[in-house]
């Protein structure tokens, strides 16, 4: 028997980055499987191509040494799967590959790899796709079409750099009207058609153009939350604040705004709340900060959906909240033990309520440098920068 002598902490958790990521991937498998069941071959191809593109990009940047991390840590798989789930199922495959490349290159490799990213990589990829191909990303295809497992939706198989085929004649051939290719949110925004609750929840009825099933995502998310792979506070805060804002507006003028239930279960809100906003590197670590962060996302989502020209706002809401994360963390630092919570409010009574060695209480008071997120690698320290540059 060996006796190891070491200092605290003595609790050892066999939980590494790859373990967490693997669990997230496993929990995504049922969501993806149902997505494929809904949309067939096109969705499967989209999932595979986008994930492969993310993995290839990850490998390229890890190899060339510009990005930290390991190709085997499954984080790129998550990025790829989430990106594909957030894109329309019949999104042209070459555009999906471009989005996957941008997601990893711009969202992750640029800031130094896993753990250093400022924005959620999957959403960076999606934002690029939205800005570059606004038309393709607004074209959804209906679910549960007959023959979806044997043939592709024509738009999937567009040649690289070429426009996808127009879906309208293809839909007419199947006796579906043009509205079948619009998401419930777009239908509400542009046509004033409100989808019923049961359609949104199960996404089983008719040929609705809804995304991945919200119920299944909630189920898989609760498994992750139960196993503590994600913090339940963030999804709870997002859904709570979005629901509350939507309910308030609905109560004010029911004829202008849809009911809060429609708000919560349409579009990508559930997927974003459970899987995207909870990304560990881009969300706050303080419990209070998580509530604030979630509330911000929920509020922004409702505002963008109701008052802007875009039908969907989850992506921009999460990206904006990602950008606010360092600030949120700074203002929600927990009060150290032995320090009055009231003392933080007034400038006059700053410091401990009874004398203790300051360094013992908090790293703030000892003027210790809090570890910051690294935006740039090999950034020169301030004192180094002040030195005159040596001429070569």
């Amino acid at each position: 028997m060996t006796i190891e002598i070491r200092s605290a902490p003595h609790i050892k958790a066999p939980r590494s980055v790859p373990t967490i990521m693997r669990h997230v991937v496993w929990s995504l498998v049922p969501v993806c499987a149902f997505f494929v069941y809904q949309y067939g071959l096109s969705a499967l191809a989209s999932l595979l191509v986008v994930t492969a593109s993310c993995l290839a990009t990850e490998r390229l940047f890890v190899r060339t040494g510009t990005q930290a991390g390991d190709i085997g840590d499954f984080s790129a798989v998550i990025t790829g799967l989430l990106l594909a789930l957030s894109l329309p199922p019949a999104f042209p495959l070459w555009m999906g590959a471009v989005a996957g490349f941008v997601a990893i290159a711009l969202g992750k490799a640029l800031t130094g790899g896993i753990g250093f990213n400022v924005f959620n990589p999957a959403l960076v990829g999606r934002a690029f796709a939205q800005a570059a191909f606004p038309q393709a990303i607004a074209t959804y295809s209906p679910s549960f079409l007959p023959g979806r497992f044997t043939e592709f939706v024509p738009s999937s198989l567009a040649w690289p750099l070429m426009q996808p085929a127009d879906l309208m004649p293809w839909l007419k051939e199947r006796q579906l009207d043009a509205l079948a290719a619009a998401t419930p949110l777009a239908k509400w925004k542009f046509e004033g058609v409100l989808a019923g609750a049961e359609e949104l929840l199960t996404s089983l009825s008719g040929h609705m153009a809804v995304g991945p099933s919200p119920l299944l995502i909630l189920l898989c998310g609760s498994y992750l939350a139960f196993r503590r792979f994600l913090d339940w506070r963030i999804p709870a805060a997002i859904l709570g604040s979005a629901g509350l804002t939507a309910w308030l507006l609905f109560a004010l003028s029911p004829e202008r705004f849809p009911n809060p239930f429609f708000m919560l279960f349409s579009g990508g809100l559930i997927l974003g709340a459970v899987y995207m906003a909870t990304d560990m590197a881009t969300s706050p670590v303080t419990p209070k900060g998580m509530w604030l962060y979630g509330a911000l996302i929920g509020l922004l989502t409702v505002i963008i959906r109701y008052y802007s020209g875009l039908p969907e706002g989850v992506m921009y809401a999460i990206l904006l909240a990602n950008a606010a994360t360092p600030l949120i963390e700074k203002v929600t630092q927990p009060t150290p033990f032995g320090k009055s919570a009231l003392a933080r409010l007034g400038q006059a009574k700053r410091g401990a309520s009874y004398p203790l060695h300051p360094g013992y209480i908090s790293r703030e008071e000892a003027h210790a440098v809090t570890p910051k997120k690294r935006f740039l690698r090999n950034k020169p320290k301030p004192e180094e920068r002040r030195k005159p540059e040596k001429s070569s």
Binding site: A132, P134, A136, W159, M162, Q163
Partner: protein, 215 residues
């Protein structure tokens, strides 16, 4: 080749390559990002800036002994503004469509820091010939930089180069490339490319030096 000819050539190449305003000095980014939506716009903007740069540097260099140093910045700005006004009229006379496409950025050449920088740092200290050659080099370098951005953005954003369709009518335009973020993306890519190339060349030179030392 005589001594004078080589210095002139080096003077010219300084702006084109070693001190390229866009890729090395990263100066004058306002027009660089804003008007490089197409190759034609980028080239015209580059030429307009080159014209202003060369003319102002010539005039500044001719008057350099006369300009009191207390009011030199005011003088340079007056001279630069004069030639910007001239270019403004010229472009209107040549093509109104081009004038509309470049918009306010023609007038904004006056605040382009490359021009004031060249007038202050070079033209005010050198004889007219050297100043003009240097300014021409800078202008050509700036035009090359704008063209590099404009061509990539036009190819991806419209599938065309100089208005000629490259991929046929079914090309899917990357809308983002025509929008302002596209300018940042493409500039970033070019800078990345040049940085990577520079590092590779340095490493190769280092390796070559190591070999000679061993031998």
């Amino acid at each position: 080749m005589s001594q004078a000819a080589t210095t002139t050539w080096e003077e010219f190449m300084e702006g084109v390559w070693r001190q390229n305003p866009v890729f090395v000095m990263v100066l004058g980014l306002c027009p660089t990002l804003a008007v490089t939506v197409s190759a034609v716009n980028a080239l015209s903007m580059g030429l307009a800036t080159t014209f202003v740069l060369t003319c102002s540097c010539l005039l500044v260099s001719l008057l350099r002994k006369l300009i009191p140093k207390e009011v030199r910045i005011a003088t340079y700005i007056v001279i630069i503004a004069t030639f910007v006004t001239v270019v403004d009229y010229l472009i209107q006379a040549i093509s109104l469509a081009l004038y509309d496409a470049l918009g306010a950025f023609i007038q904004l050449i006056v605040v382009n820091c490359i021009i004031l920088g060249r007038a202050e740092a070079h033209a005010s200290k050198h004889p007219p010939l050297t100043a003009v050659v240097n300014a021409l080099g800078m202008g050509v370098g700036f035009s090359i930089g704008l063209f590099a951005l404009g061509s990539v953005r036009e190819i991806l954003g419209a599938g065309k180069l100089f208005g000629f369709s490259l991929f046929g009518e079914h090309f899917q335009p990357w809308v983002v490339m025509v929008l302002p973020p596209g300018g940042f993306f493409v500039l970033g890519l070019w800078l990345l490319l040049f940085a990577a190339w520079g590092r590779w060349r340095q490493r190769r030179q280092g390796a070559a030096k190591g070999v000679t030392q061993h031998a």
